[in-house]
Amino acid sequence: MIKKFDKKDEESGSGSNPFQHLEKSAVLQEARIFNETPINPRRCLHILTKIIYLLNQGEHFGTTEATEAFFAMTRLFQSNDQTLRRMCYLTIKEMANISEDVIIVTSSLTKDMTGKEDVYRGPAIRALCRITDTTMLQAIERYMKQAIVDKVPSVSSSALVSSLHMVKMSYDVVKRWVNEAQEAASSDNIMVQYHALGLLYHLRKNDRLAVTKMLNKFTKSGLKSPFAYCMLIRIASKLLDETEGGHDSPLFDFIESCLRNKNEMVVYEAASAIVHMPNCTARELAPAVSVLQLFCSSPKAALRYAAVRTLNKVAMKHPSAVTACNLDLENLITDSNRSIATLAITTLLKTGSESSVDRLMKQISSFVSEISDEFKVVVVQAISALCQKYPRKHSVMMNFLSNMLRDDGGFEYKRAIVDCIISIIEENPESKETGLAHLCEFIEDCEHTVLATKILHLMGKEGPRTPQPSKYIRFIFNRVVLESEAVRAAAVSALAKFGAQNDDLLPSVLVLLQRCMMDSDDEVRDRATFYMNVLQQKQKALNAAYIFNGLSVSIPGLEKSLHQYTLEPSEKPFDMKTVPLATAPITEQKTEIAPVATSKLPEKLAPSRQDIYQEQLAAIPEFQGLGPLFKSSEPVQLTEAETEYVVRCIKHTFAGHMVFQFDCTNTLNDQLLQKVVVQMEPSEAYEVVHCVPAPSLPYSQPGSCYTLIRLPDDDPTAVSCTFSCTMKYLVRDCDPNTGEPDDDGYDDEYVLEDLEVTVADHIQKVLKPNFGAAWEEVGDEFEKEETFALASVRTLDEAVGNIINFLGMQPCERSDKVPENKNSHVLFLAGECRGSSGGPFVPLWGETPTGFKSGTPHHLTLRTEEASRMRGETSSSNLKKSRRFSFQAP
């Protein structure tokens, strides 16, 4: 059977490759013997093999040469050599996209696919479908239908799979073969069954009813093929997910029954489907977890890997469900497959007890250098989760992380480590110094600009407040000397923060900034000059406003305002207060722990939700002249979810007005609503100015109507108000099928739930990264202290949460997190209040006393920039009747 292709290669040793020195041109030259008569099958076969080998190596064939070879090859159909014919089919498939006029072989292939040789028929169908387009497909439709129901499995499978490929291109044609596919699905052959099921699903996947019927049929009748079972499980779990079917549905029972299948592949698929279902309870998970546990001791590495990977996912949501497998996982931590070992350890880190952490960390550090970056990220994520769970272990973790930081690794990996260290620093104040020291060391040799700037920013924020701020200066200034522009600029900003916070460092910082003013990059020079001048003033207020706490306006909003200003030049200087504030709290650190191998797309600077609303409202003529949008609330539901009409309201606050946006959806398919308005009856001195109706509300298409309210400006205490709302509209009955409405309609109304305006609607959150500086900046000129009792709250956490919700202000310095086992807490809140001049800034110092109990007094200190606001603010906090939460003056 050894064919002597090339004598020379044969002699040159056993490691030779007969295809090694193939030249494309030489091979194409050789291909001329295809035209010789009689055909020499053996030589021709060898040349075809060479051509396919070259294509496989990624060799590029030009259209002309490919077409030439292709046409020569078509002559080989005259030979009856089986292997040669099969290689012709392969060549056709490989060249289908390179050569021109491949369709000339259609008739030869059609002949083979309907011929007597079973060996030819399957491959011929696949080759034919590869070169066919929609119009030609209709010509061979009859043969395809026959082939699908052919009793030779290879023919039937080939036809089904080819049809599946064709679905993308000619759905309408393939759709007509559903009955044949249905027949094939009851075939005895396991692969035919699998392919038929796949094709049927692809043809029906947009018709949920048909999919349900199909599932019912196959789950009852049972299938032979494990592949088909896997497919069925996937279809079932997708349907469960879409219909939000409860876990008592027959589909869930089916998936669960597959856990008892004889084939491991099916069992694993079912277990994985159950694990991935959202809202699965621990009890429902239990059978899946126990089969995965069995797999953990399988001799097959793939099965162990699959099991432990799935268990790892379970552990993210339900660590307790996996505890039962701890013993089996322990056995896997020394697995020779490092992927399995890593997954086992990270799973154990999530489920194990605090005492096992040290041991596991030691084990994992012994082979961390051998695993791929993907798994290193998994390890870091596990550590990050662990630090939240066992804060006391942070020193072990920190050591481990710093070692990992020194190793080689890609950006994703380093970023995961840096994020993890930063979150540890934020959670545990006592780890701050070691963490910063590790990060300092890291940026000494860091090739990722993004990470370096991030760390510099953090050092500027945290560094000045450590006991020994001076030791960080050296690291920061080294960056100014050695790095790229972006990093240098960030380093200058960080330096300035040290100068502003620490008086004794100020002279040295000024010297360093002086040097930065010679920098070659203009951004670096600008920053240095700016900070230099601010620092030389030695005024706390200036430092706070320009160095610690940057702009709090929304950037797209600022851009738009400035653009507007340049379009209409005026004498007046540009006023920052006309710019809408940034809405989103900037730090949303704790994202869900991502699964293995996610490549995150770079985040774009999307316009915030509020910017979009601003845009939409500005387009309505009635709302012009209201000034910039101050705040938009979260949507409030004014109806139950399952009613005839679904209405939700978004409250938009302006300087002196409020606009209520009612998003209405009509869920009745036999009605068309027109001229929809929401009538509002205020309980206080609020004045309804205008209503903008939604002209028409057809079935299931949401529409919006608006109501404009003037806020009373004479009485600053009237900040809260309750509105009773009624939706009024004209109903026109219509045909549910066509949507054609009747000519005449009648007026009707629908009572909605009451809508409340609260203190929070008048206050916009402002994040002040350095609260202390902001507090000093405002000064104690207008300071007001009051003490309130918190009734009906039981824990400190709850109290803090309620205060934040009630006032709608931004918690600063992570003071919204109450440390464990403390019975007093200081909460820092910052916000800006609605007002004609853009609103003064209001920081608030809230202190709960020691020995927190329900109803104990709560101390609030408030500072504002403007005296007149004072009264309004404190009295608003005085609101006793708020339903959810009450402050009671003692």
């Binding site: 050894i2 050599d81 491959p123 699998y194 699903y201 097959k300």
Partner: protein, 180 residues
Amino acid sequence: MDSPILEPSLYTVKAVLILDNDGDRLYAKYYDDTYPTVKEQKAFEKNIFNKTHRTDSEIALLEGLTVVYKSNIDLFFYVIGSSHENELMLMAVLNCLFDSLSQMLRKNVERRALLENMEGLFLAVDEIVDGGVILESDPQQVVHRVALRGDDVPLTDSCIFSFIHITCSSFFSLRISTLF
């Protein structure tokens, strides 16, 4: 989690690769556009080879893809699928490919024998996977359908195949057990 529910699909296999012990491509078939250019494909193959050629463990996660593999003498067989794919399905493909080749090459699965039977390899892969869909998973069927010319496959007796099969698998378990 980014994709909690798998879209039910027959498209399981992203690529089938066979590399030699220098990491050079002997055979590579990519079924989707994960690696559209030859350059990216070669880079991926290099990465895969570096990560796998020293260890004899049969599965790994690389560049967000699940890779199942098997090595024999101087050949490395890889089957690649999405990281959400059922690993055992990919394993079924790998085993089918390996067993089919081992029957066709009369258990002589090494680089030289493979290179001398490249057309057999091409046809076998074509019978196992079609455009990413698993076409057949039974090695007997694959060998039957490839149907190399009679004089090339002299020992079509099934008892010999089973003998080969047994010796092959015991050889493997031996290799694996020496690692522990």
